[in-house]
């Protein structure tokens, strides 16, 4: 048997759990639609200040919503591992021959699957609302990959906190405190030119801005490979730091 077998077993476990929880599944899938419709209606006048070729505020908003939804999936891994530690299920898994890395991989793949499913729904709704994706199918695939990659990098933060604190409330509180400034003081939802100067400075160093700008290029066309490379390197650096912390804490639990 391989690590793939173990990872698949655990991915199947988490997806089954998700299906068994229709409220969570329903809200997870409805969330992107809600955000897309709400933001595009409330702030539609931003479109008046965007370049004519940009596709309007809805096209501007789509990558931001895709990224935001991917981000709010990230804490689920931390919640899950905290629950497994507290219920004794993690110990039960550790008494088997399962490869320890598969316990993390199964969870990460689950969250990435959910993030991609949400992104597909968002893109589908956006197309129905009239947004055209200038980069075509390849651009959409890269958009999905980028959002899942960003979600993966953030997961490490919540896995680490979940292992250390073993409290799901702490994870939820951290997600709120972290995500709101990261998302709303970035170019994800609104053009940075409308921000006060301090917020523009913050946004310029915000990884959410880097990522959403690249994703926006995939919607409106004109992808700059240099910008894509910078964004992927930055996300990669975040992932290295967060997963180094996760692995350090996880090893303490499993050994």
């Amino acid at each position: 048997m391989t690590i793939l077998f173990d990872t698949q077993s655990l991915l199947q476990r988490f997806l089954t759990k998700l299906i068994r929880n229709p409220t969570l599944l329903g809200t997870s899938l409805a969330e992107p639609i809600l955000f897309l419709i709400l933001f595009s209606q409330l702030f539609t006048k931003f479109g008046n200040f965007l370049p004519a070729a940009s596709g309007g505020y809805l096209a501007y908003l789509v990558p931001g919503i895709v990224l935001f939804n991917a981000m709010i999936t990230a804490p689920q891994g931390g919640v899950s591992i905290a629950n497994d530690i507290n219920s004794g299920f993690l110990s039960k898994m550790l008494l088997t021959q399962v490869r320890r890395s598969a316990i993390l991989l199964g969870r990460l793949l689950t969250d990435m699957t959910v993030a991609v499913a949400q992104s597909v729904i968002t893109i589908g709704v956006a197309v129905a609302m009239g947004v055209s994706f200038e980069s075509g199918a390849a651009g959409i695939l890269l958009l999905l990959l980028t959002s899942a990659y960003f979600e993966l990098a953030l997961s490490g933060i919540f896995l680490t906190v979940g292992i250390i604190t073993r409290k799901t409330e702490t994870i939820s509180a951290l997600a709120s405190v972290l995500f709101f400034p990261l998302v709303f003081i970035s170019s994800a939802m609104f053009p940075v030119s409308f921000f006060p100067s301090w917020a523009q400075v913050f946004s310029n160093y915000n990884p959410v801005s880097y990522t959403s700008d690249v994703m926006r290029q995939l919607v409106t066309g004109g992808l700059n490979l240099g910008t894509l490379g910078d964004a992927y390197a930055l996300i990669g650096a975040i992932a290295i730091v967060t997963f180094a912390a996760t692995l350090y804490q996880f090893r303490k639990v499993v050994s």
Partner: protein, 328 residues
């Protein structure tokens, strides 16, 4: 018979410096039903965690199923099953899915796994509710499912950490019968920890009594009880001064080997209570000592614990989280 567990000078120290297990040595023979008896916090669960590779020992030499604990933890996990004190199931998954997942994590797959899951569900009589989420099961049903998941890989050695804590008397008896069958009919070696004297007495062929991380006695239940010294005459005396006087008087009676305090009274140990009881009552009466209650009993494992530690394993102090019927 060969040893399936051997532990020499095992010491376990927690990160905060607490010495949970203090230099204990014991062995368990293949096919044996072996027990660790002791009160809460004695070090029973800690020992199980070390033996099942979940916790690191500070020092000592331990081999389980012929494998060194530090060198081959993976090999050990292949041939053991563990039923933890707390029921640990995924309550969102059905009974069938829980067992199937556990089987896959033990590297089983295909028809062999499906058949094993079916066999175990029938064995623990949960085949009728196999497709219902475990969260809808009663406490007893969850315990049975947990036990089935510990057996998924056909273990040679089964660890049971206080398997009947929280279950009512009827459910406990049902579990005991099932465990006896596993040991006798299927030849599975069982290592049991318990705080129930009756459980240890009924199930274990050999046991060790543990307190504050130290082994204080070991042997068969019969051997341990013999060490107490025959019968006990229990006298209830509320007045402490009268108790002290009674102890002095009892020591003068021929045939009384030992006198000690007990909860609210005094115990006199003798080889045959029937032969001395008349003289004992007369002597006490002559000295103006009239116990409010007198009884004769044969020693129990609690008496062994009392003799070794000066305390009783009091069942009324035990933490019981739930009492639900266990339907077999």
């Amino acid at each position: 018979m060969s040893d399936i567990i051997s532990a020499e000078n095992l010491i376990v120290v927690y990160q905060d410096g607490t010495r949970a297990v203090e230099d204990i040595s014991f062995n368990v023979e293949e096919g044996e039903f072996f027990g660790f008896l002791g009160p809460n916090g004695a070090g029973k669960s800690t020992t199980i965690k070390v033996l099942t590779t979940l916790l690191r020992k500070a020092s000592g030499k331990v081999a389980v199923a012929g494998f060194d604990l530090e060198k081959s933890p993976g090999e050990i996990r292949k041939c053991i099953g563990v039923l933890s004190q707390e029921t640990s199931l995924d309550v969102d998954l059905t009974g069938w899915e829980n067992l199937h997942l556990q089987g896959r994590l033990q590297q089983m797959s295909g028809t062999a796994l499906d058949e094993r899951v079916k066999e175990l569900l029938e064995l623990v009589q949960l085949d009728g509710v196999a497709r219902k989420p475990a969260g809808r099961y009663s406490g007893g049903m969850r315990k049975r499912l947990d036990l089935a998941s510990a057996l998924i890989n056909k273990p040679r050695l089964l660890f049971l950490d206080e398997p009947t804590t929280g279950l009512d008397a009827q459910s406990r008896t049902a579990i005991w019968e099932y465990l006896e069958s596993l040991n006798k009919k299927e030849g599975i070696t069982i290592f049991l920890t318990t705080q129930y004297l009756e459980e240890a007495d009924r199930l274990c062929q050999r046991l060790s009594i543990i307190d504050h991380g130290k082994l204080i006695a070991k042997g068969t239940p019969a051997e341990l009880k013999e060490t107490v010294g025959g019968d006990m005459v229990n006298l209830t005396l509320k007045d402490p001064l009268l108790r002290e006087r009674a102890k002095l008087v009892l020591k003068t009676i021929a045939g009384v080997s030992k006198v000690s305090d007990s909860d609210g009274g005094v115990v006199a140990y003798t080889k045959n209570a029937g032969q001395i009881i008349a003289e004992l009552v007369t002597t006490l009466d002559r000295n103006g000592i009239r116990p409010s209650f007198l009884s004769i009993s044969s020693p129990t494992l609690d008496d062994v614990f009392l003799r070794e530690t000066g305390r009783r394993i009091r069942s009324d102090e035990l933490s019981r989280k739930e009492t639900e019927p266990f339907l077999m």
